[in-house]
Symmetry: C2
Subunit: 228 residues, 2 copies
């Protein structure tokens, strides 16, 4: 788990200063960031709560250069998220790397860590758009198929936007990086056990009326790979 260059990681030197200002980077870097964010299903949001960096799993969505989050209005977490910089991590694990020595075990993965100050979206149209982006990220093809938010629901919901200006994208792929001596010694299996997220067949709600078919946006997703 400490395959030094590439380990899943951290606790290795990735202080605030390391993430690159995206404006200084090539378009391919931004495309990589977007690809990781779009492939994830949930993110982990880091918020400063009472001096503690608390990590919260949450839904998200991306549109262009904006990451959208949402929450309950008036929630302590929400206020905290707006008062300090936050970070958002999206991680996809692609495999466990089995090495010939304990300290070269690692993970294959794709991860993005975005840093910045989230802002509350107040424009009614952008609020609706942000919620659409979040729902469509989790359940593509759903927004236009279901009842839109009503006034009461909208009043209870805050929409946050985080600009994708500072981010760190890391990836590891391929087999173990074993020491030459361990490879030469032979006899120990090494390789990768790949893993991926799959969809299983949809389960209709028990109280679903008769004759309501599973939408193609759902059934098609089930037959496609989630990531990769």
């Amino acid at each position: 788990m400490t395959d030094n260059a590439l380990l899943l990681p951290p606790l290795s030197p990735t202080p605030r200063s390391t993430p690159t200002r995206l404006k200084d980077r090539a378009r391919t870097d931004r495309a990589e960031l977007h690809a990781v964010l779009d492939a994830g299903l949930i993110c982990h949001l880091g918020v400063l709560l009472g001096g503690t960096p608390v990590v919260l799993p949450t839904a998200y969505g991306r549109d262009g250069n904006l990451l959208y989050l949402h929450g309950s209005t008036g929630a302590g977490n929400l206020r905290a998220a707006l008062e300090h910089d936050v970070s958002v991590a999206v991680t996809l694990v692609d495999g466990v790397v089995y090495a010939r020595s304990a300290m070269h075990f690692s993970m294959n993965f794709r991860s993005a860590v975005v840093l910045g100050r989230a802002v509350e979206v107040t424009d009614p149209q952008q609020r609706l758009h942000g919620l659409r982006v979040i729902v469509e990220h989790a359940a593509p093809g759903s927004w236009d198929r279901v009842r839109p938010p009503n006034k009461k629901e909208l009043a209870a919901t805050a929409v946050l936007a985080l600009e994708l200006t500072e981010a760190s994208v890391k990836m590891r792929a391929g087999g173990p990086n074993d020491d030459a001596g361990d490879i030469a010694a032979g006899g120990v299996w090494a390789g990768v056990l790949p893993t991926r997220q799959v969809w299983e067949p949809p389960v209709s709600a028990p109280d679903l009326g008769p004759g309501v078919a599973v939408p193609s946006s759902v059934s098609q997703r089930c037959t496609a790979r989630q990531s990769g």
Copy 2:
């Protein structure tokens, strides 16, 4: 995504004060926490870096009431992790909940968020044990099969332990919680699209010598479900 009681999500009121002191809870709560931690593959660690709550994906392992993490000695992240309280989140997504209205979309999931002050493990035997726990979490059955850490590797590696005394476990399962009016209106499909992580067949390292078989700990894992 704002199915209020149960949403994946956060930004709802889960301030530092909400996680329960485990000592005050029944043994079933601790068993639930352990089950989530044991089912996850990676965690997201929240560290305060330059005033920002930075979220880092990393490997971990659990033994009894201790969560083990590791990192490179001298790394800025590591120092930061020891100077302040940290949080560790492990999240398993079990499905996307499709509702009849946009704001009732949700996720089925199991998550654990642990808070506390990590300590550096200095006892040589416990350091080795912590590393074993981390490697065995990612790759069960591997530690005794491969070369153990040498002095140089050990000197470059810090082992951290976090006691499981303050944690929040959340779970959501089952179908959508739609409004009665939306259910009565009918005509809109609702249900759950389950998801799970699966292992694919192992890929041997290209430089693996002839006649080295895939260990049963690897091949058996491939035929078992990762979670659940």
